[in-house]
């Protein structure tokens, strides 16, 4: 104890410099997308120096999370809450290159400090339980069967010294069934220094966030060691959401979507059949108009005063030709190189912005290109689905498309499957464009850890390379296990969720590759719903009754044959049931006689 405090003394002398070193950063990037949607990316970052963290002095770094990390010796932590599907066909490349999103449900991976696998498992259990309490999520259901230790797909993002790297263990767990909702957002906001009371976090509201077409909440904690400075521990919180503008603009007092009255419909008048009673709806993108407070339901209540005043808190990625009106007091900074502009938000007053309707006709007709930036093409498209039928076997097919006409793409494909889905690895095949190519061309490396019943799931990691402008069909077959009665979850007939496959696209090795290819990027398929043979859940009692009946029948028959005496039909002695019958008749007769006697007395 005394020892511990003797360490503190130099820290307290350093305190002023330390206080300056720990900083806070937040930014909201809005990006209108095709089909009348807008992507809002919230990013919050707080730093604390490692020395302050180890002395347990928390300033902007949340204490509740910090003490969990210290308790279980976590070096790096990544937590994801996701909902919905990113429509890559129309929305293009993912925000943050897909590095800040998870599969549907909850995903958690962390590097723990542990000397042995058992120690890592123990710490992992205590980490998931603690986080489960903190984020009100069922993270404690990530048990051994849902935990994998990825070999290739994940790399630490922070700066770690070689000695710490040596005894760090990576564990990864997914809960695809978890429904992310408001109770997860509230603790998320509590971790922010400005707590949703100032700055861009005031826009966050459970009703809008979980009504989005796609949303992902991410928490990343990693140590960073900038050159020549003290190492810091950084917590980065990210929320990405794709809002449907029409849906979000719907007023609160009229939440149920109803068909528009005829005169409010926007019709495409160029169609030859357009008339007063026929209407072809116009293209989505035409004439998008929206305001920040319309889409989010509220305005930004001043900037968070903890941020660096140089960093503009709100940015929007639209062409410079797009008209935008902002509230007074805020100032606009246009980026000359990119179609992007940012806004400085005053400290104390509300901020909102309006993107008015831009006329497609008239003197200066505007086009789509004036309204939105064309989305970037993603490096890879991926979709995964089940094939086959019946309750015994099935198959999985993943379609991976490389849209680039000239560059090949190399990536890791990782599946962590539940144990009751037993894959046949020999059926794993990859076809290019439907032509059966040799598997070795596409799959370069396979790491496979087979499942053990009720102990661990299957882990399959593939290193693949797809040639330019081609589509790869990756298929494999599997067998469905029959579960024990108690292993079925509530509502078992809905099916079992299978976690998303994780695709990690490797950075290009060639020096002249474009910027997007020089970084690691991620992609996740949707999760699948596997239907297993489900029993009739009143079965145990039925079984008891049925077997009892059979046993009773057999036993009764046998026993009676063994102990009964068989006599001729004309030799039956009047006894047993007959005797009982006689007794009853006698008793009834006596009763009648008694009542008659009583009546006679009355007369």
């Amino acid at each position: 104890m005394r020892h511990f405090f003797s360490y503190l003394i130099p820290f307290s002398i350093l305190f002023w410099t330390v206080a300056l070193a720990s900083d806070y950063y937040e930014q909201l990037i809005l990006k209108p997308l095709p089909q009348s949607t807008v992507l809002a990316s919230f990013n919050f970052r707080s730093n604390t120096t490692l020395s302050q963290f180890e002395a347990r002095n928390f300033q902007y770094f949340p204490r509740s999370l910090g003490q969990i990390l210290q308790h279980v010796g976590t070096r790096e932590l990544h937590l994801r809450f996701s909902l919905g599907r990113w429509d890559a066909e129309s929305w293009g490349a993912r925000p943050w290159d897909g590095t800040k999103e998870g599969g549907t449900g909850v995903e958690l991976w962390a590097w723990l400090e542990a000397d042995s696998d058992e120690e890592a498992s123990r710490k992992w259990l205590s980490l998931t339980n603690a986080l489960s309490g903190l984020f009100c999520a069922s993270l404690n259901f990530i048990d051994e069967t849902r935990t994998t230790r990825p070999v290739m797909s994940f790399q630490p993002e922070g700066d770690h010294s070689n000695t710490t790297l040596a005894n760090m263990q990576l564990l990864h767990g997914v809960l695809p069934r978890e429904v992310v909702c408001t109770e997860n957002l509230t603790p998320f906001l509590k971790l922010l220094p400005c707590k949703g009371k100032a700055g861009i976090s005031t826009l966050l509201d459970g009703h809008k966030l979980f009504d989005a077409s796609w949303q992902s909440m991410a928490i990343d904690i990693r140590p960073l060691c900038p050159e020549g400075q003290e190492c810091v521990l950084q917590i980065e919180q990210t929320i990405d959401m794709v809002l449907d503008i029409e849906r979000s603009k719907r007023p609160r007092d009229n939440p149920i979507p109803r068909p528009l009255p005829g005169h409010e419909l926007k019709c495409n008048t160029s169609k030859p059949y357009h008339s007063s009673d026929t209407c072809f709806p116009t293209d989505y993108a035409e004439g998008q108009e929206w305001a920040l407070d319309q889409v989010f339901g509220k305005t930004i209540k001043g900037a968070c005063p903890l941020t660096d005043p140089e960093v503009p808190p709100v940015c929007i990625q639209v062409p410079h030709t797009r008209d935008i009106y902002i509230t007074a007091g805020a100032s606009e900074i246009k980026d000359a190189n990119k179609p992007s502009r940012c806004y400085q938000v005053p400290l104390e007053s509300d901020f909102s912005m309006i993107l008015p309707h831009m006329s497609r006709e008239g003197e200066h007709p505007k086009t789509d290109a004036d309204e939105i930036v064309k989305p970037e093409t993603p490096l890879l498209y991926a979709e995964r689905s089940f094939t086959g039928h019946g309750y015994e076997r099935g198959g999985v097919r993943t379609i991976l498309t490389n849209p680039s006409p000239d560059t090949e793409v190399e990536f890791f494909y990782m599946e962590s499957l539940p144990w009751f889905m037993k894959i046949y690895l020999h059926t794993l095949t990859a076809h290019v464009n439907g032509v059966a190519g040799s598997k070795n061309d596409i799959i370069e490396e396979i790491y496979y850890r087979p499942a053990l019943d009720r102990v661990r799931g299957t882990q399959l990691e593939l290193r693949m390379r797809i040639p330019p402008a081609s589509t790869v069909f990756l298929t494999y077959d599997f067998e469905k296990s029959i579960l024990r009665y108690t292993e079925y979850p509530p509502d078992a007939n809905r099916g079992f969720d299978v976690a998303a496959a994780i695709i990690t696209i490797l950075p290009s090795t060639s020096p002249d590759a474009p910027l997007a290819r020089q970084k690691t990027s991620n992609l996740r398929t949707t999760s699948l719903l596997l239907s297993l043979p489900t029993p009739d859940f009143s079965m145990p009692y039925n079984v008891i009754i049925f077997t009892s009946t059979v046993i009773a029948l057999a036993f009764g028959g046998l026993y009676n044959i063994l102990i009964r005496r068989f006599v001729g039909a004309n030799e039956v002695v009047d006894s047993g049931v007959g005797g009982l019958k006689n007794k009853i008749i006698e008793a009834v007769a006596k009763l009648i006689g008694n009542s008659k006697g009583a009546k006679g007395k009355v007369d």
Binding site: N57, Q59, R63, S64, S548, F555, I563, R565, G568, N570
Partner: protein
């Protein structure tokens, strides 16, 4: 259907083996054939070996049911109940196993007296103490100081040192820093070697009793509160003092070896966002934490929380507001993980004040029982709270920490802490004993509860450590043993697997057993009854024949 055919079917094996009898019965049938239309024919009398065979069958079925079925059923459905030493557990809970006696060693340091004189004074004072002792939990033991003359720190066993110095009159005062009772004695007051009593010795005894009166009150309060029927329990404590004791004891935290101290700065707005808490703790809190070192360990964390709205919005806080001031839903004051209890110290910066009803002016802090304390600071223009501003809050927190730990209020700090050790030992010992008692009562009250062997283990460990604690009371060793005993007793009491089978209703058992046991049991029982009836009839017939 002819009757002769069916009879032949029934007994065809025996009829073949015993042709004479069969022919005999057949012939009787043919004789009666004419009269069979009017009266039913009597079946042929059963052969004795048939009857014997039938009874063997019934007996063997019952044998299987009783000696194979029943034991299997018993074995597979019985609930495991480990043997608990129930009577010993109840002994602990009722205080029969251990009567806590705290030997308190008091050294007499009299540099100016001869050894014989000191010994003599010691003997007479000890007699005076023993005769006046109405509370057997305390045993004040006098001894001559082994370090007589030296001014070094006394032995840790010695709770108090009496330093005798010659003076004009008999006066005594407790040293404010060290566990020393300064006593001056007038000349000629030292008793002679053959004196049976002495005024000065009685005075000394009374002073000693006074010095330990608070501890005695707390101890007797603890014993009185526990279910132990101590014969030495009641001291003539007044209602007021026992009320204030009750208040103090309920305020203090549950004993633990380690406490987490969390210092939080809450502000209602965006500033200040940093504070010099480390240096303030180091300067104002650390000395007390170091003194508490032998009894408790402490870990410290600090946090800054901005934009915190208190649970009460009013400008002047009334007494009722204080309990709801902490906004538990929004303020991140979650207890630390790792088992040890958390003590929260909150500095709130805002323009709220506490209205004290009677006096003019306001105070700034209050203590929340078993939780921590809150200090209100007025807002300042700077973004940083310097160490000087934190001096008063941290000093207040230090004194609040002492009362949250249950430290007595009088005496010098080392003496208060040694008293704290004894009080805590007694407290933990009593709590562990009462947990054992509750477990014993629980296992008696619920015969269907399962008791895994881990519970029995925990109980055995707990009782072993209780025994050790009871024989080492008064020191830190005893405290440590009592703590282990308490932990083990609690673990045994809160064993999860005990309650798993508890809510299995009897209707379920009927629903499971009845479909099988009904149809199987009825033929078995009726077969047995018939057999008994037949046997009785046969015996009656035999008697008649005889």
């Amino acid at each position: 259907m002819s009757s002769s055919v069916s009879a032949a079917q029934d007994d065809n094996i025996s009829s073949e083996s015993k042709p004479a009898a069969a022919i005999d019965s057949d012939s009787s049938e043919t004789n009666d054939e004419a009269s069979s239309l009017l009266t039913p024919k009597q079946p042929p009398p059963e052969k004795p070996e048939d009857i014997r065979r039938r009874s063997y069958i019934v007996a063997s079925f019952w044998f299987i049911v009783l000696f194979l079925g029943l034991p299997i059923w018993w074995k597979t459905t019985t609930i495991y109940r480990a043997d608990l030493p129930l009577s010993q557990m109840m002994d602990w809970a009722d205080g029969r196993a251990c009567s806590p006696v705290f030997p308190i060693k008091i050294a007499i340091d009299a540099p100016n007296l001869q050894k014989e004189e000191t010994d003599n004074l010691l003997r007479i004072t000890q007699q005076a103490l023993d005769s006046a002792n109405d509370f057997k939990g305390h045993h004040l033991q006098l001894e001559t100081s082994p370090l007589a003359g030296k001014r070094s720190t006394p032995d840790s066993d010695i709770a108090l040192t009496i330093r005798l110095t010659p003076g004009d009159a008999a006066t005594s005062s407790l040293h404010s820093q060290e566990p020393i009772l300064e006593v001056t004695y007038p000349p000629n007051s030292i008793p002679a070697s053959d004196a049976a009593s002495s005024g000065f010795a009685t005075y000394l005894a009374a002073q000693l009793r006074l010095a330990f009166s608070e501890e005695r009150n707390v101890m007797s309060y603890l014993l009185a509160k526990s279910s132990m029927p101590f014969e030495q329990r009641p001291l003539e404590t007044s209602q007021d003092s026992s009320d204030s004791l009750a208040k103090r004891m309920t305020r203090s935290l549950k004993y633990s070896q380690t406490y987490h101290l969390t210092f939080s700065l809450f502000t209602s707005g965006p500033s200040p966002s940093s504070w010099d808490i480390e240096s303030a703790i180091d300067e104002y809190m650390q000395p007390i934490l170091d003194l508490l070192g032998p009894i408790h360990n402490f870990t410290i964390d600090t946090q800054v929380q901005l934009y915190a709205t208190p649970g009460v919005q009013s400008q002047v806080l009334s007494k009722e507001d204080l309990s709801s001031f902490i906004n538990a839903a929004e303020w991140p004051l979650s207890p630390s993980i790792g088992g040890a209890p958390t003590v929260n110290f909150v500095v709130f910066i805002g323009n709220q004040t506490i209205g004290t009803a009677s006096e003019i002016g306001t105070s700034q802090s209050w203590l929340i029982p078993q939780w921590g304390s809150v200090y209100l600071l007025p807002p300042s223009s700077t973004n940083h709270v310097p160490s000087e501003v934190l001096k008063q809050p941290v000093l207040t927190f230090a004194s609040h920490l002492l009362s949250l730990l249950g430290t007595p209020q009088s005496g010098s700090l080392p003496m208060r802490l040694s008293t704290l050790t004894r009080i805590r030992s007694a407290d933990v010992l009593l709590r562990a004993s009462s947990s054992l008692g509750s477990l014993a009562r629980l296992s008696l009250a619920l015969p269907s509860i399962s008791i895994p062997s881990s519970v029995a283990d925990g109980v055995a460990k707990s009782m072993y450590h209780l025994q050790l604690a009871c024989s080492n009371l008064g020191g830190t060793d005893g405290l440590e043993h009592a703590r282990i005993a308490d932990v083990e007793a609690e673990r045994a009491f809160f064993e999860k697997s005990m309650v798993g089978q508890l809510y299995f209703p009897d209707e379920h058992k009927i629903a499971v057993y009845l479909p099988l046991l009904g149809p199987v049991g009825v033929p078995l029982v009726i077969g047995l009854l018939n057999q008994i009836k037949a046997w009785k009839a046969a015996r009656a017939g035999k008697m008649k024949v005889a």
